[in-house]
Every structure is written in structure tokens, then in C-alpha cells.
Amino acid sequence: MKPGSSKFGGTLLSVFTLLLAFAMFFPILWMFLTSFKTEQQAIQFPPQLFFAPTLENWRVALFNSPFLEYLQNTVIITFFSILVALLLGVPTAYAMAFYQTKRTDSSLLWMMSTRMLPPAGVIVPLYIIFLNLNLLDTYLGLVILYAAMNFPLVVWMMRSFMLEVPYEVIEAARLDGANLRQEFMRVIMPLLIPGLAATSLLAMIFTWNEFFLAVNLTSRDASPLSVYVSTFKAAQGDLFIAKMSAAATAAVIPVLIAGWVAQRQLVTGLTMGAIK
């Protein structure tokens, strides 16, 4: 516990930490490596750490399968649900950051609680509503639900970023006679671009990975990647271990990158801005 008390001990602890971190990451790395093996190599004993890589699995998994259709669905649904959540959430965050009323705190807490309700609790009525409104297996249906899921995240995060804007900046704009729209678009928003990017990346992670609503409310046309990946619970025709690894790796890479990029804001996002 005393850093610097022993240089050797410190180095040992660092190596130990790195090894443990590597062990946690290893399954993902193994999946990544497996995706470049032939099916023979993938099930070979002993498992090989070094081998001549092949891109064949990736070609089959991405282009000889419905992968790209599902990817397209995920991208469309993710993009529009975040867009709607931002369009509705940023003005709400703005009102709650700068024009607080007695009810603001309660509204914020209520919003957070909606984000935490178990989707399983309302899946039946959602299914019935979707059935009656012809929303089953449509982009629109999932976009609405995911936008509602991302809305509290957007409000909480954007509000916490807005609270960091120095009040003098807003004051000055008001003294110059800026109206609400100008104050918002010209003064506040430019300062919030980084926050907006971080919020979008976090919303993307949650939306991309969502499975429960997707599997129950879509059947094929609008199903996102998570539904496709879940079909690998059993071997799918010629999609065996190596090709499965390629498809699963391709499905998680965008989110891994988003998460690595947004690392600094991850904690804020995971706790909805409650911890900075």
C-alpha cells in the first residue's frame, strides 16, 4: 500500500495488474484470434496461439450471410433513436440546468427511475400495443422505445455538462440582448460539442447492445445485430466456431471502439451523471 517504499515491489504489482487485466480481456482476444483460423484450426487440440491467419471466415461471416442486413438495421435504429433522444433531451436538459423550478429535482429523479424499470415488466403491453399499431418488426417501433430509453441519459448527461458552462458567459450573452434561441444555439451549444459527442457514444453503446426488446418485438425485417448474434446459441449451418467468432467480433467492435474513445465519460454516463 505504500507506493515507492519498494521499487521492486511496485514493478511486481504493476506486472501483476497487467497480467490480471490481460486475463480478463483474454476471452475476447481468443475470439478475435479464432476468427482468423480455419475451422480445422479452431477446433484443433492443442489450441494454437500462432497460425497462418485467413480472412475466409470474415468473408463468409460478413458477405455470405445476412450479417450486413442486421448491421444495417442496428445502424439505422441506433442513429435515429439517438437523434430523437437528443432533439427532445437537449432542450429538456437546458431547461433543467438553467431554469430550475421546485419540481426539477423530482423530474430528474423520476426520469432516471424510468431508465431503470425492468423492460420485462412491460413487455406484454408493449407487444399488444405494437401489434395494434402495426409497429411489430418495424424500425419506428424500436426507434421510439430506444429514444425513450436514451432520453433520461441525454438529459442527465447534457445537464451535467451544461452546469459546467461558466455562468458569466450566459450572463454576458443575456446582457447583449440575446434571446433564448440565440443564447442556446450561439452561446451554449458550441461549448457542448464534446459533451454531445460523449453522450451520443454512450447512448450508442446501450442501444447497440440492447437485446430484450429487440428479440421480443422484431422477427426479421427490423431485427438488430444482437438478435442475429443470439442465434449463434446453436451452430448455424456452415457458421461454425471460426465464422461465429468472426461475426461476433464484427458485431462488438464498433461498441468496443466507442467505449474506448468515451472512456473518460463512461463513469458519468453509467451513473447518469451522478458521479463525475
Binding site: A120, P125, V267
Partner: protein
Amino acid sequence: MASQSLTPPSSAAAQPDRVEQRKFLSAPGLTFLVIVTQVPFVLAIWFSFTNWNLLRPDSAGFIGFDRLFRNYGRILTNPDFLAVIINTVVLTVSVVVITFIGGLAFALLLNRPFPGRALARTLLISPFLMMPVAAAVLWKNIMLDPSFGLLSFYLRFLGIRNFYALESFPMASVIAIVSWQWIPFVMLILLAGLQSLPDSTVEAARIDGASGVDMFRHIIFPHLTRFVEIALLLETIFILSEFGIIFVTTSGGPGIQTTNLPYQIFLEAFSRQNVGRASAYGIFAVILANIVIVLFLRVLRRNADSGEVNL
């Protein structure tokens, strides 16, 4: 981070026109959220008092006041219900305990500067970022498969063949996979907590001759408490809804050994098409989650009052 919850210096009252305008800013979003989240919930309560089964289209009727709680009664007297609740609690509590220990250990290890720390952190958060169903596919087929999985290869050294963890120890395996995903979550929040501890406090304690253990007990841990509360309560709320990993790895089985509340609702609704009973199960899930949510919000409010959380 000091709370800025107080109304900014030039208060909204001084800007009556803007207060009026503010309503137009938040109304659309809030209305949208109320409709999307509350309407289904109200319907769920209504459905839970019907005997609607999609397989019997004529059945969509109100149960009647004399048998008002029939769905609830049926659920409560069903021996499976207790098993499902126990599974849900065992899964959630085990994961929370394991990830707390693992997450705290990693947070302490990472809370000191060393070359490669950023790399270690990046590697560590990856399991959490992964799509849960992809994590499940990875563990089920690539790691644990009895013939081709990596684990089975190492077990051969020990003379164990055709060992399938998901079949022999289904609940323990699910707990392990979920924990693998959630250790990074707890680690991230506790690490943020450790790093918000002012250096001066630690330094002062060290000068006063505090040992490592003392330091942990009297300085680090008290400071960390609220981060622990937030991390574990938030985690509990999400693990109570765990579905994807169970769906892929065990399908709730063998039997109902790994069926938790969300999976049971899924079976009731989409295999048995029993709208009434699935809704009643859903109400239980909401009640269970709400108990934890209320605790969580109380913690947040308390921390906001002491200015430690940005509310």
C-alpha cells in the same frame, strides 16, 4: 465536484418570459417519456386482472371482482414461482458480491500510476462494453464447449473429459459470465471514487503514521462508501433484468434451474401466450426493481444534499 443544484445567481424569477419559454423546452421530451413508459405500465396492471390468452382470442375478458387476483393467486401458489424468485435473487446477489470484490481489487490495483495503466484500464473495461449476447456466445461456444472449448482443453490435462460447465453447474456458470461482464462496471465507479479522494488527505494520514490497513479502514473506505452504494444498487437494478446471457447459454434450464424473473415472463408471454399471467409476473418484476430503485434514489438525494453528487 460541488453541487450546482441551486438556482444560478440571476434566478429564473428575474426572467419571467424565459420561465414561460422553458416549458416549451422540456414539455415535448417529458410528454414523450410519460407516454412511452407509463402507458404500457398502466396496461400491464389492467392486463394482470384479465384472463387473456392469445391462443384463445375469446378469452380477453376482465376476470371479475370475485376472482380479481386469480393471476396473482395462481402465480403465488405455483411452486415454480418461488424457484424463479430464488433464482433471480441468487443470481443477482452472487454477481453483486463477486463483482464488488473483483471490482474493488481492480480499482485498488489501478489506483496508482504505473506504465501501462491506461492499457490495463482499456483491456479491463472491454468485457462490459461487449454485447451481452455476444459475450454469451463467446463463453458458451468458444470457451466452455465440452469438445471444442478452450476450457475443455485445459481440463484434459487434469484428466477431465467432456465437462460442460453450463450443464453441470448452470447457475454458477451464468453467475460467472455475468460477473465477468460486470466487474469492470464496479471497478470503473470505485476507481472514480478512489481518484476523487484528495491527495492531501492521504498525505496527511501518512505523515501521521497511518499504516496501509489503517489508511484503508479509516480513510479510503469511508470515502468510498457512497460510490460503493451507487455502484452496487445500480448494478442490482440491471442484473435483476438479466436476460440475454440466460437466453443464449441455458435457455433458463436445465429445467428451470437458471430461469429468472425476466426469462419466466418471456416464457409465459411468448411460449404460453398468457397475457394475463405474464403481466402479473411483470408487476412482480416492477415491484422488485422499485424496491431497489427507491433505495438508489434515496442514496442519490442524500449525496446531493451533501453536495457530493451533481443533482
